[in-house]
């Protein structure tokens, strides 16, 4: 029997070989790493192992149960698909960061205590920011810095929470729901929901993800938010505030997506929306909703990566990323492949029957209905409409179709590399396969599943909703038209706030300069006064300022010398008289 090794080690050590290899060997390595990791996962038994003593605590690197396995499987699968899609890219930094990103997210999935979790959490933040920077333009670097600052804030909240929690409860175990112990509990929750992009802590996501490279963005869509969903599922099930936050999130993402013009930014807002279902599922806290959250995370990673791949392929081939530029160029004739794969992803995210969104999203919505959380239910249901109308109708219409604009010149279309097509085909297959055969997913979910997606009621209901949304969009198509503008979001507070803060600092600095100048003037005055008091008096009373002569020892030598001589003579006479009288007194 082969003994499994920690799967994150395969990634973290494998990444070290990336810069050493070239050509085909490097490409082979990139694909072999996730395959090895997948085999490793199959060998891992349930239980707690790979323990290390650290101070008075025990760090657990292998907490393996059904919940961690669901996430580990999909993390490994998506790393394979994303590496395949990025295979043609000759950028060691990106490959290296991507492997570290994937590896550390596996570390999060198997972390059995809060310290280990924190360790991998921070590696993820650093690795992901390097993926953003790999685009190497001004926008990406700026967005990367903002992303890093926000995540460092989240990391600090998490660490502070962990320390307070450990002191209060004396335990750092991360095996089940955390004990409600006041501040520590809530700080850890803030650390987690920041990574899950819960509004108003979400703008780092639509800010940074669309600015990453075409291939790098695929990794970003998968790990940060979904590992946060995993930690929420493990530590905060049934925390009711999450149900409402999640429900608001679903609609929030959709509303901003409807306004959006940049295709990948639109999809990024839909990550916010989709993660809202998962966060909501955690908050509802029934077995059905928790299963739904895990299943939705699994499916979402697959179809969202596929959507980003399709949109990325458009950007790769045309060099354009805004719908206001892409519309009316008849791209459906020129780049049909990206359209086909994109639509598989779009049908999946919109929960069209036979695609994988249909087998997971309704689990959460149904759970909300069954637990009588009607506000949550209706918000989520409305967001489903918005998902279909944005991702399934608006984006493809204004990207590949749209009213023809013959005045625009022909654009150069780059050829799509085989590996990008293979990556998209692989994920499309998985999306459809899981949609047709849901048991393959239901078997690995954390709780036993008694949910049947393909009842006539569900299917007909879903079809009614989807088709009537098409009618609605058709009527309001003019209103949906994207324009070349951007829309404000809560990042306004720190992007504009930072400018205000810098101005405030300049103000403080100016006050310091004034005070310093006053002090220096005073010191100068004292120096001048002590050098030559006559000059100071002169300069006060005479209208013509006299120049302060440089010190010359000879100027006053005679005058001072005569003065000293007279005083010596004077003192000599005084001494003479004094001693004369003293002698006379003694003689008597």
């Amino acid at each position: 029997m082969i003994k499994p090794i920690p799967p994150f080690l395969i990634y973290l050590i494998g990444a070290l070989f990336v810069p050493l290899l070239v050509g085909k060997a490097k490409k082979a390595l990139l694909l072999i790493i996730p395959i090895l990791a997948y085999i490793d996962l199959l060998l891992m038994p349930h239980g707690n192992y790979w323990k290390i003593k650290f101070l008075d605590y025990e760090l657990i690197f292998g907490q393996v149960d059904k919940l961690s396995m669901v996430f580990a499987y999909v993390f490994v699968i998506i790393s394979f698909a994303a590496l395949l899609y990025a295979l043609h890219v000759d950028d060691d930094v990106q490959h290296f960061s991507a492997l570290y990103y994937a590896g550390s997210s596996l570390g999060v999935a198997f972390a059995g205590d809060l310290f280990t979790l924190y360790l991998f959490w921070e590696i993820m933040a650093v690795a992901s920011v390097f993926i953003i920077w790999c685009q190497r333009d001004k926008e990406a670097i700026g967005a990367g810095f903002r992303y890093l600052l926000v995540h460092l804030f989240g990391g600090c909240a998490l660490l502070a929470g962990i320390v307070i929690y450990a002191i209060k409860t004396g335990s750092i175990a991360f095996s089940g729901p955390l004990v409600k112990c006041g501040l520590g509990f809530w700080l850890i929750l803030i650390g987690f929901i920041l990574n899950a992009a819960v509004p108003p802590l979400h703008p780092w996501l639509p800010d940074a993800y669309p600015r990453a490279s075409v291939t790098g963005a695929i990794f970003l869509t998968a790990y940060t938010t979904k590992s946060a969903v995993y930690t929420l599922l493990r530590a905060f099930p049934g925390v009711e505030v999450l149900a409402y936050l999640g429900a608001i999130m679903t609609v929030y993402g959709v509303v901003w997506a409807i306004m959006e013009n940049d295709i990948r930014r639109l999809l990024a807002y839909h990550i916010v929306s989709q993660v809202g279902y998962m966060v909501g599922g955690v908050g509802i806290g029934t077995e059905l909703s928790m299963n739904g959250s895990a299943a939705h995370a699994f499916c979402h990673i697959l179809y969202k990566a596929l959507l980003f791949m399709g949109a990325g392929a458009v950007i790769y081939q045309t060099g354009m990323r805004k719908m206001s530029d892409l519309v009316g160029r008849d791209l459906y004739k020129k780049i049909p492949l990206s359209l086909i794969f994109y639509m598989v992803g779009a049908f999946s995210i919109s929960a069209v029957p036979l695609f994988n969104g249909f087998i997971c999203k309704p689990m959460i919505v149904t759970a909300a209905e069954e637990t009588h959380m009607l506000a949550v239910f209706f918000l989520m249901h409305t967001a489903s409409i918005g998902t279909w109308l944005c991702v399934g109708l608006k984006l493809p219409y204004y990207t590949w179709f749209g009213k023809r604009r013959p005045e625009l010149g022909e654009i150069e279309i780059k050829k799509l590399p085989w590996n990008m097509i293979a990556g998209m085909a692989f994920l499309s297959f998985l999306c459809i396969f899981m949609g047709v055969y849901p048991d393959i997913l239901y078997r690995v979910l954390p709780y036993p599943v008694e949910y049947h997606p393909y009842t006539p009621m569900h299917v007909i209901g879903a079809l009614q909703m989807l088709l009537m949304t098409v009618v609605g969009v058709w009527i309001l198509l003019k209103r949906l038209e994207p324009h070349a503008v951007i829309n404000l979001d809560t990042d306004w507070f720190y992007r504009k706030g930072a400018i205000l803060f810098v101005k405030f600092c300049y103000g403080l600095s100016a006050i310091r300069t004034i005070l310093q100048k006053l002090a220096m003037d005073f010191v100068d005055g004292v120096i001048v006064t002590s050098k030559n008091p006559v000059y100071v008096i002169e300069s006060i009373f005479s209208s013509k300022p006299t120049r302060l002569e440089p010190y010359d020892a000879n100027t006053y030598r005679t005058a001072v010398g005569i003065g000293v001589m007279f005083s010596l003579i004077f003192f000599a006479i005084v001494c003479f008289i004094f001693f004369h009288h003293l002698l006379q007194l003694l003689v008597k």
Binding site: H381, G386, P456, Q464, R479, L488
Partner: protein, 71 residues
């Protein structure tokens, strides 16, 4: 082309609405809307209209800025 699409759309809507009258929930309906055969369709249509008008209105009124706003 557009005509064919329109016809196809309306025929399929007619079919799914009709089917809505023939299927029943597997278990007792908890809420009144579960008894309305075309509820999902109507909800989808109204939701779609409301979402588009609300979002675009929000954008036009408050949130839209020039693309170089942050530069």
């Amino acid at each position: 082309m557009i005509r064919t699409l329109k016809v196809a759309l309306f025929v399929s809507i007619f079919i799914v609405f009709l089917l809505g009258f023939f299927i029943h929930p597997e278990h007792e309906a908890h809420y009144f809307w579960q008894k309305i055969p075309v509820f999902e369709g109507i909800f989808g249509f109204i939701g779609c209209i409301v979402l588009i008008i609300f979002s675009k209105g929000l954008g036009h009124l408050f949130l839209e800025r020039e693309e170089d706003y942050y530069d």
